[in-house]
């Protein structure tokens, strides 16, 4: 089930981050203490923290990687702190965790902390510019990844179904995302390859696809392939989900027509 207020708040959070900027979006409590923050480097999210979010990254890493123990990670964390070494890179360098697992754990921590921070009854956000934290780009996340990650926390079953379907249909040169159908939700439940797409473009495309398919479905039309300013965009419905594929090369429109026609042949 989607939560429109949380969707809107999350979008407002990212609207407050200047384009391609580095810094922290900080939320303070009424007594001036920090309720939490979202760290951003060159427009990509590095980390989120919230006073209401109790889990540590090490807890999630132990969940994700059964060969790791809390004691091992605490020891390494203390060492990294003492010697000013980055924890993620050190975990990888020592072969304690694979990059995909670390990436997944960091994203989960960031999304869960951000969801708590957004729901916090704290003061408004303020942006504090910074010259950069030096996070490895592989260990940072696009706004689209983070938004999909937060939506996946709210509705994990639907998000998993959306991602599984996208994995089947997104091929080279194509980007795709899925939203919950007709609910007013504009945040992707799942996405593949949408990292480089501006968040405003993504939410606008989601709104347009939702609107077109609402009209089309009423006339028993199953899918729509549109061309908008050189961008080919295919949308179709499957149960509660609205899928959107995007492609921008010269033959994109016809390629998407052929792909979606093949997918909907038996409907």
């Amino acid at each position: 089930m989607h939560e429109p207020r949380l969707d809107a708040e999350l979008l407002h959070v990212f609207e407050r981050v200047p384009s391609d900027a580095s810094g922290a979006l900080v939320r303070e409590q009424s007594d001036g203490t920090v309720a939490g923050a979202l760290l951003v480097e060159h427009g990509r999210v590095c980390w989120a923290m919230s006073r209401r979010y109790p889990r540590r990254l090490t807890d999630i890493l132990v969940d994700e990687e059964s060969s790791l123990s809390t004691a091992q990670l605490d020891e390494l964390f203390a060492l990294c702190r003492r010697e000013h070494k980055p924890l993620g890179e050190t975990l990888i360098a020592r072969g304690m965790v694979s990059l995909p697992i670390l990436h997944r754990a960091l994203l989960r921590h960031t999304c869960e902390a951000l969801a708590c921070l957004v729901c916090d009854e704290a003061a408004p956000w303020s942006w504090v510019a910074h010259s950069g934290y030096g996070y490895h780009p592989m260990l940072t996340f696009s706004p689209a990844e983070v938004l999909a990650g937060v939506r996946a926390i709210i509705d994990p079953t639907l998000a998993a179904r959306a991602l599984a379907r996208l994995t089947e249909v997104v091929h080279a040169g194509v980007h795709g995302f899925a939203i919950e159908r007709g609910s007013g939700a504009r945040l992707p439940l799942a996405q593949i390859g949408c990292d480089s797409i501006e968040l405003t473009t993504l939410t606008d495309l989601a709104a347009q696809a939702d609107e077109v398919m609402a009209v089309a479905a009423a006339a028993e039309l199953d899918a729509a392939i549109t061309e908008l300013d050189g961008l080919a965009c295919a949308a179709w419905l499957e149960g509660d989900l609205l899928f959107v594929l995007l492609c921008e090369d010269e033959l994109a429109f016809n390629r998407l027509v052929a792909q979606v026609a093949a997918m909907t042949t038996n409907t």
Binding site: A216, A219, I225, T226, E227, V260
Partner: protein
Amino acid sequence: MTALGELAGAVRDCIVVAWVDARTGEVVEQHVARSGPEVEPALDAAIEVMRSRARPQRMVLLSARHVHIVQRLASERRRVLVVICDRTPNIGFAVALVRAFVDAEAA
């Protein structure tokens, strides 16, 4: 034969070809290649979808039985060509024919 009639003859299993005003929803000119009860609702659906947004230059809508190919005239964006045909395997060819027709009209 009119230009719309020629296009209807070129698109395989064509049902109707029409110029419509996307702003008012009015059918300006049409050629019905195969009359039947589906013509009017199919045209209405295509017009309605195109009216819902001003931006798409072109659109293909798929139902289980039909294909709606809709394209704006670049020089007069409210004027939209709607082609509705049966759903056959070679949709791409029909899409290319419609594009070429609209491009020629704009030239």
